[in-house]
Structures are given as structure tokens and as C-alpha cells.
Symmetry: C2
Subunit: 153 residues, 2 copies
DNA sequence: GATGAAAAGTAGTGACC
DNA sequence: GGTCACTACTTTTCATC
């Protein structure tokens, strides 16, 4: 499943604006609309493009506090790992979660309406996950950049 | 610019799948297609919805190493702040960047093809930004969740 | 095996109620 | 906010390279 130059161009453009029409897309990558459409369809079939989503401004819907949370788990309780993963998946305030090397075991990006909401959430997190040894929180003062766009050569 | 119940439903659905048709959307929020369209249009005009983008699987395009980087800046060189912000904006490998309280001043999410690429990038970062006092790097071992979706009540 | 042109089908838009 | 007519976009077909 090698990517052509046109494929890469399509990915670049679609990551910027997925509402672009096939005519525009075709023109900008130097293909006919039907060819562009077929390439795009194949990129979706091959799961290179996973999905298209709208990006919502948190401030406009009343959720404006982001937190970076580093969580350290008890390593000797592996049976509590699946519930923790499920908690991450099921908690919509958790936007992102990575398992990392280094200091903390996990780093989470959490988006809530207020610090009070975070407090409640953190309490619930500890309550539901007794394998959390400790966690440290950084308040986001300023979001400078936010994209899931992948740099395509 | 108060959000109606239908608006919130629209945001929820569009954050999951922005390729949904107006007919589907209308049906699921209990409006006519043209009403749904008008609400959607207004959400875009009011910049509640900022844009629509395709989500690309990094593994499928050969970029598969994520790093979390905490950067600490010299506080007494404010004139070097704008260049740093420009570097963040102009470097496509930097997916996300926050200014935070707590230990580090800034936290970055960086996506590269390999650790070797990260090395080159980190060197360049230090070279171009002499106000970086130090930085610490965590390698992402596992990405558990990744979304920019905002939880809409 | 993929492309482009053109036809057929579907979805989005805007005027009107 | 809903209905309808119009326009634009997407998808398929078909011939071609």
C-alpha cells in the first residue's frame, strides 16, 4: 500500500480542511475529480484516513480548563490495568492518554469546565482506580498549538 | 450565542463523524434537514466549529514515534519568546504545545518518524532557541486515547 | 491497473411560507 | 423551524491508455 505523491498531497490537504470539494482537491493535486475521489476512497478503505471530524472550540461550549496529568500506577497490580484503561476510554473529559517512559507512567490531557470540575473528576479517578499510586497536575495556562495532523513528507 | 439542545447534539455527532449527511444529522437531532443545515452553518460562522479535518493514522504514513517534551525557558529573556512561538507554529512535527504551571514551562507533543529524527529536531530546537534552559523527554510507549473532541453536556 | 469524461444519483443551499 | 425547487457535489459507468 505505497502512497503516491498525489496521495500525500491529498492527505496534506484533507488534514487542513476536509470540507474541500473533489473538484478543488483534484485541481490541487493534478488529477481528475473521479481519480481524486478513488484515491481518497482507497485512503479511507486502507485506514490511512481514520475518520473526518469537526474541531470544536472548547471556550465556545463552556469547557475552558485543560490539565496535564501524570499518573503513576502500582506496577504490582496488573489486574487493575484493564479497569484503568476502560476508565480512560469511558471518561469524555480525558481527551488524550499516553503510556510513557520516564517519570510518570501515564500522561493525560483532561478538559473540564472549571478547576472545581477537575477536582471532582480527580477524586472519582482515585476512587475508581485504587492502583493509582500518585498523580501530579499541571494547569494549562495557554494552548499554543493543537492539531492531530501528521506531517506527510 | 446560546446553544440549543439540537446544537449540542449536532456538535456531539459532528465530532464523531463529520461526513454524516444533513439528512442523517437532521433525523438524529429531530430537525428537518434544512434546519439542521442552518444550525450547522451558524455553528461554523460563530466559530464554535472551527474546521473539519481528516484524521490520519501516523503508522500508515511512516511516522510512528511520539515524544512528550517538557521545555523550560529562561524567564529573563522575554524578547526570545516570539521566536520560540514561531518555531512551534512552523515546525510540523510539533503537534501540540501548551504553556503550563508546574515543573516545566511548556509541554510539547512531537511526532517523528524515528528517534533519530527526534534527535535532529531536538538539536535544531536548541540551536534556534537559545532561551531554552533545559528540556526533558518522555517516549510514548503506547497511545491509549487521542481525540480533540470536547465533551458537550 | 489506473485514468479521465460524462452521465446518473445524492446531497447541500436558499427562497418562501 | 419546515417545504420545496434549484444548484452543486459525489459516484458510477464506460472508454482509453
Amino acid at each position: 500500500m505505497a502512497l503516491t505523491k498525489a496521495d500525500r498531497e491529498i492527505l496534506k490537504l484533507m488534514q487542513q480542511d476536509a470540507t474541500i470539494t473533489l473538484n478543488e482537491l483534484a485541481e490541487r493535486v493534478g488529477l481528475s475529480p473521479s481519480s481524486a475521489q478513488r484515491r481518497l476512497q482507497k485512503l479511507r478503505e486502507d485506514r490511512v484516513i481514520l475518520r473526518d471530524v469537526s474541531i470544536v472550540d472548547p471556550k465556545k461550549v463552556g469547557t475552558a480548563v485543560s490539565m496535564l496529568v501524570e499518573v503513576e500506577l502500582e506496577r504490582d497490580r496488573p489486574e487493575l490495568m484493564p479497569p484503568f484503561l476502560r476508565w480512560l476510554a469511558d471518561t469524555p473529559e480525558v481527551q488524550e492518554a499516553w503510556g510513557t517512559s520516564g517519570r510518570g507512567d501515564f500522561t493525560l490531557v483532561i478538559l473540564v469546565q472549571s478547576v472545581e470540575h477537575f477536582d471532582v473528576l480527580a477524586d472519582r479517578m482515585m476512587e475508581m482506580n485504587p492502583n493509582i499510586r500518585k498523580f501530579t497536575t499541571s494547569v494549562v495556562l495557554k494552548t499554543l498549538k493543537r492539531t492531530l495532523a501528521v506531517h506527510v513528507e
